[in-house]
Every structure is written in structure tokens, then in C-alpha cells.
């Protein structure tokens, strides 16, 4: 759970950084997008293989993450089969409480996201075969899509907020009360950076700063 989660947080940070290339103009953005599918690690691996290896690692992480989550959820339900009549929450955060259902919603959003921008099955403001830049600008010209993404990215970042803290604690980094505050702070910083970093681009498109 912890390791696969951190792999995915690493990916999110990279993905966010890549998105920001949109501000360097259409050519830079398209070049970057094509480079991802091109000859990274060539000649160590044949040209074009990197993206598939990468996708395989991501898929494996997602599957392992969901499997661990399912096992934990099953154990938790068995361990608390009778509910309390009254429950007083003392220290849990909203993010911690919504990890499970939030995770499911997040997955649905992810599937939509891939159908939209990877397979181009769902076309919103662009046509199949559009260049990455054109596709991005076309899609985020729709205010409702930007809104939808804002909600989804918010859910992702909430998941990251508890996830980063929890993963690092599971891996043994919570060594003192000070470390506990630090790790929680770090998780907040990563979540906020991701939210801002991911939302700048769609907003810039929506307001016409990028077109």
C-alpha cells in the first residue's frame, strides 16, 4: 500500500511538471508529449518501449494498491462488524476518513481521464488524432470540464494528503511527535502543490491565457 502509493505520488508530481510545459507554447508541449512515447532509455530498450514499461509499472502499482486496500477494508469491516450507536471523532482527518470511498471515486475519474486524453474515446472539444496541445486547449475551453477536473483533482489531493503521511509512517519515518507534525506538514505541502500545479493549466486555458 505504502510503496505503490508513493510510486503513484511520484508519478503525479512528474505529470504535473509535464503539464506546466503548456506555458512554453504548443511546440514545446507537443515535443515533450511525443518524447514520452519516443526514445527514452534508447538504446537500452528499443525505441518506443519505455512508455509501455512505464504503463506496466503504473498498472501494477494500481492493481497492487487496490488489492491491498481491499484486504485492509475487508479486515476492518470484520473487526468492527457491530457499529457504535454514538461515535465521537477525536483526531481523524476528513482525508483519512474518505480514503476508501474517495479512492473508488478517484478510480472512476481516472478511467474517464484515460478514455479522454489517452485513448481519445471520449472527445470533449477536440477530434480524434488531435495533437496533445490542441487536445488540451480544446478540452479545457469548457468550463464544466474544468469544474469537473477541479473536483476530481481535489479528491486526488485529499487522498494524497492522508496517503503521503500514512505511507511514510508505515515505512517507519514517524520517529517522534515532531516527526509526526513534519510528515503531516509535508503531506499537506505535496497535496497543495499538486492541486495548484494541476489546476493552473486548465484555468489558464479557460481564461484564454493559453490558446
Amino acid at each position: 500500500m505504502a510503496i505503490t502509493g508513493l510510486i503513484m505520488v511520484g508519478f503525479l508530481l512528474m505529470h504535473m511538471y509535464g503539464n506546466l510545459k503548456v506555458f512554453l507554447g504548443a511546440d514545446a508541449f507537443n515535443h515533450y508529449a511525443h518524447w514520452l512515447k519516443g526514445d527514452i532509455l534508447y538504446p537500452l530498450v528499443p525505441s518506443g518501449w519505455f512508455i509501455w514499461i512505464f504503463r506496466l509499472v503504473m498498472l501494477a502499482s494500481i492493481v497492487a494498491h487496490i488489492w491491498s486496500a481491499a484486504v485492509l477494508t475487508g479486515r476492518a469491516h470484520a473487526a468492527r462488524s457491530t457499529k457504535y450507536v454514538t461515535t465521537k471523532r477525536l483526531s481523524q482527518t476528513y482525508a483519512a476518513r474518505t480514503m476508501r470511498w474517495g479512492g473508488v471515486i478517484l478510480l472512476v475519474g481516472l478511467i474517464f481521464h484515460l478514455l479522454q486524453f489517452t485513448t481519445q474515446t471520449v472527445q470533449t472539444g477536440f477530434t480524434a488524432g488531435a495533437e496533445p496541445y490542441e487536445m488540451t486547449v480544446g478540452a479545457f475551453g469548457n468550463w464544466w470540464l474544468v469544474l469537473l477536473y477541479a473536483v476530481w483533482v481535489g479528491i486526488v489531493c485529499s487522498h494524497v494528503r492522508h496517503g503521503v503521511w500514512s505511507a511514510l509512517t508505515t515505512l517507519g519515518a514517524n520517529t517522534s511527535p515532531a516527526a509526526r507534525s513534519f510528515l503531516n506538514g509535508l503531506a499537506w505541502v505535496i497535496a497543495v502543490v499538486l492541486f495548484v500545479g494541476f489546476m493552473i493549466m486548465p484555468l489558464a486555458v479557460l481564461f484564454g491565457w493559453v490558446n
Binding site: R75, A76, A79, R80, K88, R97, S166, G172, N174, S176
Partner: protein, 253 residues
């Protein structure tokens, strides 16, 4: 004071339970929560009703026998900044005329025996799985023959204050017993005497914890918030570090 209670009544492990309302009059604010229950029980006995069963022993916060979920919080700590045991919670913490919900610990590993009494032998099994050191007990050795660094000794003592009450499990949304297990692991792992079995211990105790039907820890933190002995959450990270190391130790396999 007058206190209105809604108490979980369950005749035995097999029968279904339900919340029953009682009105307790003549409560003094200096009474502990358990003394208030004693008062109610006297009343019930006089009326020929079955008194409410609850666990208790020392009534001074050191034995770990008592434990009731009060208004949704294990040991009833509620908004007080000081976590305490049920026996050390006093009626002055409640308003006159208040309605208080009283429930037993709820966890798969702690089945209800009767009313507010749960079976906590799962904790004993975790201890039996490794919460000890193997030595030939003879006469007490010279205390200075085994030096223990001050910082580690302090941490061991802090962890050793766990009284095994089970509030951590009761408060955990996952029904996990990790705080208890981690307190025991940290206690022994910090001391020289705990070293020989350090890595086999962590594996057997965690395995027993899981086998007993406790849930998995997802670092929510409710346990440490109700722990009357303020066992910190970082003991769980200490347990995890030892568990990871044990994977690479022959001793741990």
C-alpha cells in the same frame, strides 16, 4: 446531579443487545463514572433487576481492567485535554441532567461477554506470542551490569506504561490493535534485555495480532487520542521499522 443513561444491555455473548435508558438520581459530581454505575446497580438490585455488568479492578487508573465507550469516545475522554481511564473519569465532567450513551468496546477481536464486559484475551495471546524475554530467572542481577542508555530507557518506560486496556482498539475505525502491540514491541526493543529476540518477536506478535482478527493500521490516529497512558503514534512506526528489518534477518524468519 441527575444523569440520564442509555446503556448497552446484552444478556450474554449469544443474545442480541440493545440500548436501555435509565435515570440516575443523587449523583455527586465527585463520584467517578464507575461509582455512578454502582449507584445505578444498587438501585437495580433493590428493584430486582439484573445489574449492569462492567469490568473494573484498581479504580485508580493503573490496572487496565475498566473500559467503556462513553458518548462515543473510549474511556469517555471527550473534549478533555487529558486522556484518562473510565475509573478516573469523574461526574463533574458532565452537565447536570445530561444524557450519556454507554457502550462496550466494539471490536471483532473483543467479543461482548455481557453488557459492557468484553473478552480481551486476544491481547494475552499477542503477549504470549512474543511479549517477553527468555532468561533463566535466578536471583536479581546487579542492576549496573547491563547499562541502558538514558534516552532508550525513557522511551522503554514510556511505552511500558501501556496498561492493556484496549481503548486503542475500541477507538480505531479499523478495529486494529497496533498501538497496544507497538507499545509492547517498543518497550522491549529499546532495552538491552530485549535484543536477542527483537526481530523474531515483532514477527510473531504481529502475526498473532492479525490472526486474532484485529484490523490493519491505516495511521488514522484515534488510538493515541484516547490512550489513557498517552502511548504515542510513533511507536507504530518503530514497530514497522523492526518488522521491515526482520525480513532481512535470519533470526526473524
Amino acid at each position: 446531579m441527575i444523569i440520564n443513561l442509555r446503556v448497552w444491555r446484552q444478556a450474554n455473548a449469544q443474545s442480541a443487545g440493545k440500548m436501555v435508558s435509565y435515570r440516575v438520581e443523587g449523583v455527586s459530581e465527585d463520584m467517578s463514572f464507575l461509582e455512578m454505575l454502582d449507584l445505578l446497580n444498587e438501585d437495580l438490585t433493590v428493584k430486582g433487576e439484573e445489574p449492569i455488568a462492567f469490568d473494573h479492578d484498581c479504580r485508580e487508573g493503573i490496572c487496565g481492567m475498566c473500559g467503556i465507550v462513553i458518548n462515543g469516545a473510549a474511556h469517555g475522554r471527550a473534549n478533555s485535554p487529558v486522556p484518562t481511564t473510565t475509573c478516573q473519569l469523574h461526574m463533574r465532567s458532565f452537565a447536570d441532567g445530561a444524557t450519556i450513551d454507554v457502550e462496550p468496546w466494539r471490536a471483532g477481536a473483543f467479543p461482548v461477554i455481557k453488557d459492557l464486559v468484553v473478552d480481551r484475551t486476544a491481547f494475552d495471546r499477542i503477549i504470549q506470542a512474543g511479549g517477553f524475554i527468555s532468561i533463566n530467572a535466578g536471583s536479581a542481577p546487579e542492576a549496573h551490569s547491563v547499562p541502558a542508555p538514558k534516552i532508550q530507557a525513557d522511551r522503554a518506560f514510556d511505552a511500558a506504561t501501556c496498561i492493556g486496556c484496549g481503548a486503542c482498539v475500541a477507538a480505531c475505525p479499523n478495529g486494529s490493535g497496533m498501538l497496544f502491540t507497538a507499545a509492547k514491541i517498543t518497550h522491549l526493543a529499546m532495552l538491552p534485555q530485549g535484543q536477542p529476540e527483537r526481530y523474531s518477536r515483532v514477527k510473531t506478535m504481529v502475526a498473532q495480532h492479525d490472526a486474532d482478527g484485529f484490523g490493519g493500521c491505516t495511521n488514522i490516529g484515534e488510538c493515541a487520542a484516547v490512550c489513557p497512558k498517552q502511548i504515542p503514534l510513533d511507536t507504530i512506526s518503530a514497530l514497522n521499522r523492526d518488522l521491515m528489518k526482520s525480513l532481512f534477518k535470519k533470526d526473524g524468519k
